[in-house]
Amino acid sequence: MEGLTLSDAEQKYYSDLFSYCDIESTKKVAANGRVLELFRAAQLPNDVVLQIMELCGATRLGYFGRSQFYIALKLVAVAQSGFPLRVESINTVKDLPLPRFVASKNEQESRHAASYSSDSENQGSYSGVIPPPPGRGQVKKGSVSHDGAQPRTPADQQEPASPVVSPQQSPPASPHTWRKHNRHPSGGNNDRPLAGPGPFWSPFGEAQSGSSAGETVWSGHSPPPPQENWVSFADTPPTSTLLAMHPASVQDQTTVRTVASATTANEIRRQSSSYDDPWKITDEQRQYYVNQFKTIQPDLNGFIPGSAAKEFFTKSKLPILELSHIWELSDFDKDGALTLDEFCAAFHLVVARKNGYDLPEKLPESLMPKLIDLEDAADVGDQPGEVGYSGSPAEAPPSKSPSMPSLNQTWPELNQSSEDTAIVHPVPIRMTPSKIHMQEMELKRTGSDHNNPTSPLLVKPPDLSEENKINSSVKFASGNTVDGYSSSDSFTSDPEQIGNNVNRQRSHSGTSPDNTAPPPPPPRPQPSHSRSSSLDMNRTFTVTTGQQQAGVVAHPPAVPPRPQPSQAPGPIVHRSVDADGLITHTSTSPQQIPEQPNFADFSQFEVFTASSVNEEQDDEAERHPEVLPVEKSSDPSNSLRGAKTESKIEEKTAASAPANVSKGTTPLAPPPKPVRRRLKSEDELRPEVDEHTQKTGVLAAVLASQPSIPRSVGKDKKAIQASIRRNKETNTVLARLNSELQQQLKDVLEERISLEVQLEQLRPFSHL
């Protein structure tokens, strides 16, 4: 880079410009942003600008360093002076005027002029507060004005004139507002960047109603006026105090001053709304902001989370308090995230702040994010001051209060509800009682199966398992609601078998299936047929099979002994039975005993009757009257048996009768035993007794006369029932026998009578 020699004025001017462009004090200026503005304000053709940039080397470096910037400015001046752009022209051209940056609006000029004059007025008051650059600027201005190059002097001359002129030309409002601003105790913040040759921010100064003063060529110090105007406009937001947009290192200003009064603020705002908002973002700025937004959040419609924004804006090296305030202003919907608009507003505020402008108390209109709600936008338009919560009367702003309180208040509820919904998630678990019950019963059954030494069960387990599987499939096909009990596949079994087992167990232990299943509800009748019907069937089966199984149960063990009361004669009878084992066996056969188990008992009865008959023959007198009829009947029957050859039994019984009689038994209990009645047994005995219906009445009388049989204390009900059955059968047989014997008795008596008559007839003469 060629050495650059600058005059003092140039030096200062350039340094101010550079400081202005150097937003972030990084000693290098990006090609966009203010530099672009600057160059545009130079009113040079674009290609010239490009050329300048090339020449100064910025394109090479990608940014404007201070030297590059100075060179660029010099080249601008060269170009503006009409000299060809040459690198060597930097130094060769002498007395080069300072690069000029044009203001397109006259109001700014007028404002500048006005502020100019005011500055001269207020310098004293402001100087103390004005940070050095303005002072420098002012000094520079002075120097400029004094040392101004020739082309400048006319401008200078013009300028003092213009301020004089422009106020007249400017719309009445602007000086009004401006004066108001001047009255604002905004302190040094109303810096007059008079000398500060900041680039002209046309958008800030634009929209000035206005004076039709032509374009004014601004000298080096001209930019301040537009900035001035911009500043003045920046003052228009009611409570804001603006820092002068001076190019110097005003960024370090940390004083944030707020300006008061709502009334004036509204006034000013209304006035300002008619003008271009100094807070308005230029396109370049906006583009720059958008680009920055993209670096954080690629989606332009998305949000930047608060943390990311915090990091980003912390880089601007503003104090946290101010950043916090900027955030409050820019986060319009208070959601903790920044949309594109909000981000641009925040960025713009940061930029402004870095340049020394005080932060507004409320978000300026131009920075307000575009609200989706037209309502809110309308509200915003109608109430330019109503931004967020700030400064409103007790009533909450309509745009926000309806949403925010509800939002805030519903937050905990929402959270809770969400939590509730998250936590409490009803998981329907249907507890099918049937299945559970089945399982219980299955468990019981499996338990009982092992415990029960019943042969059928032991034999049947393989069948059961097979049937289990079959039935399980059947069950599922039947559409039982099974859930969580799929393991019951192995448990499902033949309903009959289960029912049998369960019923058997039920009979023994009443509610055990229910007791062992705490959670499931008690079994309910299920619509499924298989289950309920099976249960019913089971019941019926058990009724019918119970006895069988009881009998089955009773079968393997020894024949249950006769009831205890009858134990005494029992053993004796047993002895007789033992003695007449053969006889008993044969005796039972013709009797058509339905059940073989009763075979032995019946034989006992037979023997007993035989013995009783024999006893009667021996001792009639000792017979109990109750037993008499039986014995009597038995006696003749015995004799009849001997006489008749109807059954060998009778003969054998007769033969055995003396043997029995010799033992001298007094069976009282056994005969009465058959009297123990059971409806069923009677029913069963009925068909047997049909043969001797004629003698049933006698039998009944005989049976009734007998004393009640002492109840057997047999533990096994089935055994008792079996013995009862046997007794009854024996009873019927005896009854039949009785009838036969009586018949024989009658016959015998008749014969006796006839024989005695014959005897009398044969001995007629013996009496004489």
Binding site: T258, G306, S307, A309, K310, I320, L321, L323, S324, H325, W327, E328, D331, K334, D335, G336, E361, G388, Y389, S390, G391, S392, P393, A394, A396, S401, M404, P405, N408, Q409, W411, P412, E413, Q416
Partner: protein, 139 residues
């Protein structure tokens, strides 16, 4: 309407306290401090019950001769205490409630600011202005 407004953190240190400067502010600070006990008492009264069953607005904490102290506690145990003039009989309960609601909303906005560290003093201007609006009616 309010003579003094205070925001107290969960750990019972003040995040924000502001009173009408005409009176002795220390007295108000003391009143707020003593009201914390009452607030804790009211909170723990429903200790067994769920937090969401507890209403945020606590109501009148205790009256004094000149002032009445109202309390409001958030779900995060941040307490708002408001001292009003006892002579202001026109002030009704629902008005107090609405004031607390506004306080709560503003506080939430402050919390939303990523630059605000929870537990710091509240220096938000928006919050200040809101509180000012509530206190500005002091006669």
């Amino acid at each position: 309407m309010a003579v003094c407004v205070a925001v107290i953190a969960k750990e019972n240190y003040p995040l924000y306290i502001r009173s009408v400067p005409t009176e002795n502010e220390l007295k108000f600070h003391y009143m707020v401090h003593t009201s914390l006990d009452v607030v804790d008492e009211k909170i723990s009264a429903l200790g067994k019950a769920l937090v969401d069953q507890r209403e945020l607005y606590l109501g009148l904490l205790y009256p004094t001769e000149d002032h009445k102290v109202y309390g409001y506690v958030t779900n995060s145990k941040v307490k708002f205490v408001m001292v009003v003039d006892a002579s202001n009989t026109a002030l009704r309960d629902n008005e107090i409630r609405s004031m607390f609601r506004k306080l709560h909303n503003s506080y939430t906005d402050v919390m939303c600011n990523p630059f605000y560290n929870p537990g710091d003093r509240i220096q938000s201007r928006a919050f200040d202005s809101m509180v000012t609006s509530m206190m500005i009616q002091v006669c």
